[in-house]
């Protein structure tokens, strides 16, 4: 039944890399040049990560002036970063803030996205346009009034306040994504359920939401990534060290431990590994989430 949705939306932009037909001889040179280009670009992209990893596992006394590839390896910097930076508690803050934000954004954006896609009510278009009008509004343009508002609401320096601001900022785009997914689902399903006497919320939660699973996955991953990586708001709204998530802490350690490169790079590596691991495993969804908003119309 749902199969008649346009293929492009049911399966958001995926990138194929099918082998092209075998190159003809006269193309051999350009093909090698292409290969070299891709290898050079990939290497240049990856090098900083490899260097970060290599530095984080060096013994401290070989960091400056030692060989580029460490001769002996130690996990000491990870241990020090873990304890000296109070890493577990900041990691927990990041997880807490990110998970809460993702859950709330997901719940509210699916509800709203569904309503904008499938329900009829007066004023819908106007509200939709207003919500989307600020999609391109840069955060730097409203950070000061937001700060003042948080202060007035006594939400400064609380993780809950930060979560609320994240949710507010993220909802329009997440709703826009979910609406796009719901629009591809056939109306007949809803009409049939109405005839059977199902309530609107039940139709949404039991029938339509499960069908929008790819959209849900896209929103979750996109939101997870952007909340985990957010810096400006966390840096501005939180001051108590015990509430800080990882990003402001990573920014802060440069000043405090500027000469302890193994510790710095170990802290960076630990913050990046979960993201890269999820990315490599769920690449297609990642790519879909990050490109869908841009490619769609």
């Amino acid at each position: 039944m749902s199969a008649d949705a346009p293929a492009t939306l049911r399966r958001p932009p995926e990138v194929r890399s099918e082998p092209a037909p075998p190159p003809r001889a006269r193309h051999a040179v350009t093909r090698s040049a292409g290969y070299v280009t891709l290898i050079v670009v990939s290497a240049a992209t990856v090098f900083p990560f490899l260097w970060m990893l290599a530095t984080s596992i060096r013994p401290s006394n070989t960091v400056f002036g030692g060989p580029l590839i460490p001769r002996s390896v130690t996990g000491d910097a990870y241990r020090r970063a873990w304890t000296q930076l109070d890493y577990p508690s900041h990691l927990w803050n990041s997880i807490y803030v990110t998970v809460a934000t993702v859950v709330i954004v997901l719940a509210l954006s699916t509800l709203g996205g569904y309503a904008f896609a499938k329900l009829q009510f007066p004023g819908k278009q106007v509200i939709y346009v207003i919500l989307l009008s600020t999609l391109m509004l840069p955060l730097t343009a409203i950070i000061i009034p937001l700060f003042l508002e948080m202060r007035a609401l006594n939400l400064l320096n609380t993780r809950q306040g930060l979560i609320l601001v994240y949710v507010g900022g993220a909802l329009p785009f997440a709703m826009f994504l979910m609406r796009a997914f719901f629009e591809t689902l056939p109306d007949e399903l809803i009409q049939a359920a109405r005839v059977d006497g199902a309530g609107e919320f039940r139709i949404f939660a039991r029938i339509m939401l499960p069908l929008a699973a790819p959209g849900v996955a896209t929103v979750v991953i996109f939101q997870f990534l952007s909340t985990w990586n957010e810096f400006l708001l966390a840096q501005t709204f939180l001051s108590a060290p015990e509430y800080l998530p990882l990003q402001p802490v990573l920014y802060g350690v440069v000043g405090q431990h500027s000469t302890d490169w193994p510790l710095l790079t170990a802290a960076l590596t630990m913050s990046v590994l979960p993201i890269i691991a999820v990315y490599v495993r769920m690449q297609r969804r990642f790519v879909a989430g990050m490109t869908l908003g841009a490619v769609k119309d």
Binding site: G34, F49, V63, L119, T134, E200, W261
Partner: protein
């Protein structure tokens, strides 16, 4: 619970329960986006330290800008950064996407690797590259010395002449993969028969690129350019983390300047909130102008089709 019975009886095919569905979004939007945004219009017309009552001063903040050399420096840097990143982060990803789209045995690997920086936070990127650029032991100078180019070794972030280019390279490193993927998705939407037809007509690779690929990617390119422009105008994290706008304001952009004015690292004295918000209005207007122009151009190109 509200059910569908109510609207059906009304004969209009309306589902007022929709208002309940969208209410949370609307409330969040009004409180955390709409209200602060509208308030910033008013606050940009005031003089205020953040405490007491804002004092209405009309357009004085905007006339102050005209005489503020730091503002002009920051505006100029913002434009330089935006122009360079927009050009580089549109052209290079496009070329890479076209290359990658030709099909390679290791295509997936290349694509995966080139995209990785896009999932990393700007703080991690900034700190990592600070270490790479570090003058004495950073890996960039280290490599230059080892391959006999030690004369080029440099305090990349400490020299006013190289700091902006150095930051632009980092931005490029982080963004190329994302925009390349957007272009790849666009390329795969192009009908392959167009290329076959062109080959039959005797068109070479270059002709196909300029007469098929580029025109067919016009909409996608418009989006990429717009995203780049907005990212450039609003740029903050990377520069704040790597240089804080220094040395001596050589990498100051609008974002870092207004942040310093409001939250204290460069102002030194009383926070100048009204003035800082007025500068944020400039960023907003730049982004708005970019969006409006992009929409216009996009509409015209779709009309042509």
């Amino acid at each position: 619970m509200v059910t569908a019975d109510v609207p059906r009886r009304r004969r209009l095919r309306w589902q007022p329960v929709g208002y309940l569905f969208i209410a949370p979004i609307v409330i969040f939007f009004v409180v955390f986006v709409g209200y602060p945004f509208l308030r910033s219009f008013y606050l940009s017309l005031t003089s205020w330290s953040g405490f007491g009552t804002p004092q209405f001063v009309g357009l004085r903040n905007f006339t102050l800008m005209a005489d503020d050399p730091v503002f002009w420096k920051a505006l100029g840097n913002t434009f330089l950064f935006t122009a360079a990143t927009t050009v580089l982060q549109t052209v290079l990803p496009l070329l890479l996407a076209v290359l990658l789209n030709k099909g390679w045995r290791l295509g997936v690997l290349f694509r995966t690797l080139i995209f990785i920086p896009a999932v990393i936070s700007l703080v991690v990127t900034g700190v990592l590259w600070q270490l790479i650029y570090e003058p004495n032991f950073g890996s960039l100078n280290e490599i230059l010395r080892r391959i006999g180019l030690g004369a080029l070794a440099h305090a990349w972030l400490g020299d006013p002449h190289t700091v902006l280019p150095a930051l632009i390279v980092v931005s490029l490193w982080q963004s190329v993969g994302l925009f390349m993927l957007i272009f790849l998705a666009g390329l795969q939407g192009i009908d392959p028969t167009l290329y076959e037809q062109a080959s039959i007509d005797g068109a070479g690779g270059r002709a196909k690129f300029f007469h098929i690929t580029v025109p067919m990617l016009r909409v996608v390119s418009g989006v990429v350019i717009l995203l780049n422009l907005i990212n450039g105008f609003k740029t903050f994290d990377l520069i704040y983390v790597m240089t804080g706008g220094g040395p001596n304001r050589a990498s100051e952009v609008l974002g870092t300047y207004l942040y310093g004015l409001a939250f204290g690292s460069t102002a030194g004295g009383v926070p100048a909130l009204g003035y800082a918000i007025a500068i944020s209005m400039v960023i907003f207007v730049l982004c708005l102008a970019a969006t409006v122009i992009q929409l216009r151009v996009a509409r015209r190109t779709t009309d042509v089709r």
